[in-house]
C-alpha cells in the first residue's frame, strides 16, 4: 500500500525530472534555430515591404505600428510574363539534372565501394579532386563541346553539363555510404543468386536512402539555383530558368532589386517542399535487426 502510494508520486517526480532534463536541449535548438533564421526573416519581412521603406529603415522596424506591409513585390514578380514558363523550364532542367547524376554516380560509387580492381582508390580520389575545378574554367571548353555536339542552347545540353558537374560530389558521398553497409548483407544477397544489378537496386539503394535523400536535396538545389551555367548554355530566352528570369527583374543599375526578395521566396518554395518531403527518409537505424554482432 505505502509502496503503491510512494511509487505514484515518485513516478510523477521522475517524469518531471526527465522533462526538465531535456529542457536545455530544446532551448538550445530553438534559440540557435531562431538565430539562424534572422537573416531569412529579414528577407521575408522586406519582401512584404515597400521598396522605399526598405531603403530608408531597417526591416525590423516594420513591426512598429502602423504596419505597412504590401504584396506588391509578389504581385510584380508573379505577373512578370516570363515567370510561368521559366518556372517550367527550371523544372525541366532540374529534375533530370538531379536524377541522372545520382543514378550514374550510384553505379560508380557501387563499383568503387564493392568491387576490387586495380587503381581503384587512385581513380576515385582523382574524381574527388575534380571537385575543385572551378566552374568558370570549364565553361568555355564545355560550351565549345556542346556547340560541336549541337547541344548548345538545348535542355539535353544543360542536363549533361549539370550531370557532369554534380558527379564528383555524388560519387564521393555515395561511395562513402555504400561502403558503410555491412558486408554480410550483400554477401547473403549474392548467395541468394542476386546479380550486382539486383544488389544495387534491391539492397544498396534502399539501404542508403538517407544518403540518397540528402544528395537529391543538394543536387536539386544546385541545379535549381544555378545561374551561370544556364546563362552560358541555354542562350535561348524561351528556355531560361527562373534564376535568369529573376535576375532580369533588376535593372542594369540594380534598381528594383526589392523584387529579388519576393522572387527569392517564390523560387525557394520547391526546394523547401523537397527538403521536407525527403525528411521522412532520414530514419534512425535502417540496418537494425540485420546482422548480429
Amino acid at each position: 500500500m505505502s509502496r503503491a502510494g510512494k511509487s505514484i508520486d515518485e513516478r510523477f517526480s521522475a517524469r518531471v525530472r526527465k522533462l526538465m532534463g531535456r529542457f536545455p536541449l530544446h532551448l538550445v535548438i530553438v534559440l540557435v534555430g531562431l538565430f539562424w533564421m534572422i537573416p531569412s526573416v529579414g528577407l521575408l519581412v522586406s519582401s512584404f515591404r515597400d521598396a522605399r521603406d526598405v531603403a530608408s529603415s531597417g526591416w525590423w522596424t516594420a513591426f512598429q505600428l502602423p504596419f505597412q506591409f504590401t504584396l506588391e513585390n509578389y504581385a510584380d514578380v508573379l505577373t512578370q510574363n516570363r515567370m510561368g514558363p521559366s518556372f517550367l523550364n527550371s523544372l525541366i532542367i532540374s529534375i533530370p539534372g538531379t536524377i541522372i547524376p545520382i543514378l550514374i554516380a550510384g553505379f560508380a560509387a557501387y563499383a568503387f565501394a564493392w568491387m576490387r580492381f586495380r587503381g581503384r582508390d587512385v581513380l576515385f580520389l582523382f574524381i574527388v579532386a575534380l571537385l575543385v575545378v572551378p566552374l568558370q574554367m570549364t565553361l568555355i571548353p564545355v560550351l565549345r563541346l556542346l556547340t560541336n555536339m549541337h547541344l548548345a542552347g538545348s535542355f539535353p545540353g544543360i542536363w549533361l553539363a549539370h550531370t557532369a558537374y554534380g558527379l564528383p560530389f555524388a560519387v564521393f558521398l555515395l561511395r562513402n555510404f555504400f561502403g558503410g553497409l555491412p558486408r554480410e548483407l550483400l554477401e547473403s544477397a549474392y548467395l541468394d543468386g542476386a546479380s550486382n544489378m539486383r544488389v544495387f537496386f534491391r539492397l544498396v539503394l534502399p539501404l542508403s536512402v538517407p544518403a540518397l535523400a540528402s544528395l537529391a536535396i543538394f543536387q536539386f538545389l544546385w541545379v535549381w539555383n544555378d545561374l551561370l551555367v544556364a546563362l552560358v548554355i541555354l542562350q535561348d530566352p524561351a528556355k531560361t530558368p527562373m534564376t535568369v528570369a529573376i535576375t532580369n527583374l533588376v535593372s542594369s543599375f540594380g534598381t528594383q532589386w526589392q523584387l529579388l526578395t519576393s522572387a527569392a521566396f517564390i523560387s525557394m518554395m520547391l526546394p523547401l517542399v523537397l527538403f521536407f518531403a525527403l525528411q521522412r527518409y532520414f530514419v534512425q537505424g535502417i540496418l537494425a535487426g540485420s546482422v548480429k554482432g
Partner: protein, 318 residues
C-alpha cells in the same frame, strides 16, 4: 603431384575468370567516366595547357604565368584569404553542422529544426546577397542604421562599421591587424551561415546509419550523452565527417560566389577564384587565370591524399 595438378589446372582457369572480373567494374564506371572525362578532365587539361600560354593563348611562354601570379601581391592576399576560409569556414560549418545534426536528432520536431539551418542553403546567392546587405548595411554615424548588425552595434553605443569595407575594426585593431581583414570575416560568416545546412544534412544522414544497439550498449555501460558523442558517435561517424570536411575544404578553395556577390573581391576580399574570374573576363588574361586554376588543383592534393588512408581503414572495418 596430386597437389601440383589442380594447381596448374586452376591457374589456366584463373585467367579467363579474372578477365571478366576485370572488365565488370569498368562497365559500372563507364557512364560516370564518360561525363567526367568529357566535361571535367578535358577542360582541366585545357586549363593546364593554357596556363603555360600567353594572355590570349597564342604562344607558349613556359612558367611565366606562374612566376607572375606568385609574384603579384594580389595573389598573396587571395591565398591568405583562402587560407582564412579554409580554416574558419570549414571548421565552423562542420562543427555547427555536426552539433545540430546530433541535437535535432533527439527531438520530435527534427525536420522543422533542421529546416531553420537548411533554408540558407536553399536561398540563391543573389538573394543571399540582398539579405546580407540588409544585415551589414552601413550608414554614417548619426544616420538611422538600416543594417541589423550596425543597428544593434550603435544600439549598444558602438560606432557603426562598414562590415564589407573596413579592414580592421577600430576597437579591435590589434586582434585583426595585418592581412586578416574584418570584411573577410564578415563574408566567411555568410559562408558559414549558408553551408552549415549542408554539413548538417549530410552528417544527419550519416548519424541515421549508426546502429541503435551500439548506442544502447554505451548507455548501459554508463556513458552520458557527452561521452557517447565523443567516444561512440564521433569515431563511428568519422568517414562521413571526412566527406563533409573534404567537400567544405574544396568549397573554401574554389569559393567564388559568396565573395562575388558580397564584395566582388573588392576591399581586399579577393580569393583565388574571384581573382581568376577577373583575370579571365575583365583582364582577358587566360594565361594567368588558368595558372590560378591550376594552383587550386594543386592545393587540393594533400586533402585528397589524406582520404586514401581513410578508405583503407574503412575497408577493413566492414
Amino acid at each position: 603431384m596430386v597437389k601440383a595438378f589442380p594447381g596448374v589446372f586452376s591457374r589456366t582457369r584463373r585467367q579467363d575468370i579474372n578477365r571478366r572480373v576485370r572488365v565488370l567494374p569498368w562497365l559500372w564506371l563507364l557512364p560516370a567516366l564518360f561525363f567526367i572525362i568529357l566535361f571535367l578532365v578535358y577542360p582541366t587539361i585545357e586549363t593546364l595547357r593554357l596556363s603555360f600560354m600567353n594572355q590570349d593563348s597564342s604562344a607558349y611562354i613556359g612558367a611565366e604565368n606562374y612566376q607572375y601570379i606568385f609574384a603579384s601581391s594580389a595573389t598573396r592576399t587571395a591565398l591568405l584569404n583562402n587560407a582564412l576560409w579554409l580554416v574558419l569556414f570549414t571548421v565552423l560549418a562542420t562543427g555547427l553542422g555536426l552539433i545540430f545534426a546530433v541535437l535535432t536528432g533527439k527531438v520530435r520536431y527534427e525536420s522543422l529544426a533542421k529546416a531553420a539551418i537548411f533554408i540558407p542553403m536553399a536561398i540563391s546567392f543573389v538573394a543571399a546577397a540582398v539579405i546580407w546587405r540588409f544585415m551589414y548595411a552601413f550608414r554614417p554615424e548619426g544616420f538611422t542604421q538600416t543594417g541589423l548588425v550596425n543597428a544593434i552595434g550603435t544600439g549598444i553605443g558602438l560606432e557603426p562599421v562598414a562590415w564589407l569595407v573596413e579592414h580592421t575594426l577600430p576597437y579591435i585593431d590589434v586582434l585583426l591587424s595585418g592581412p586578416l581583414h574584418i570584411n573577410n570575416f564578415a563574408i566567411v560568416a555568410v559562408g558559414v551561415w549558408m553551408w552549415t545546412g549542408f554539413a548538417m544534412v549530410v552528417l544527419s544522414a550519416g548519424l541515421k546509419g549508426i546502429s541503435t544497439e551500439v548506442l544502447e550498449a554505451a548507455h548501459v555501460d554508463g556513458a552520458n550523452e557527452w561521452q557517447i558523442f565523443w567516444r561512440i558517435i564521433l569515431p563511428i561517424l568519422s568517414p562521413t565527417i571526412a566527406v563533409v570536411v573534404t567537400t567544405l575544404v574544396i568549397q573554401a578553395l574554389k569559393n567564388f560566389d559568396m565573395v562575388w556577390v558580397m564584395t566582388a573581391g573588392n576591399y581586399g576580399t579577393d580569393v583565388v577564384a574571384t581573382l581568376m574570374f577577373k583575370e579571365m573576363f575583365n583582364f582577358r588574361n587566360f594565361g594567368w587565370a588558368s595558372a590560378l586554376a591550376v594552383v587550386l588543383l594543386v592545393a587540393i592534393l594533400p586533402v585528397v591524399l589524406i582520404n586514401i588512408r581513410r578508405f583503407r581503414a574503412q575497408e577493413e572495418t566492414r
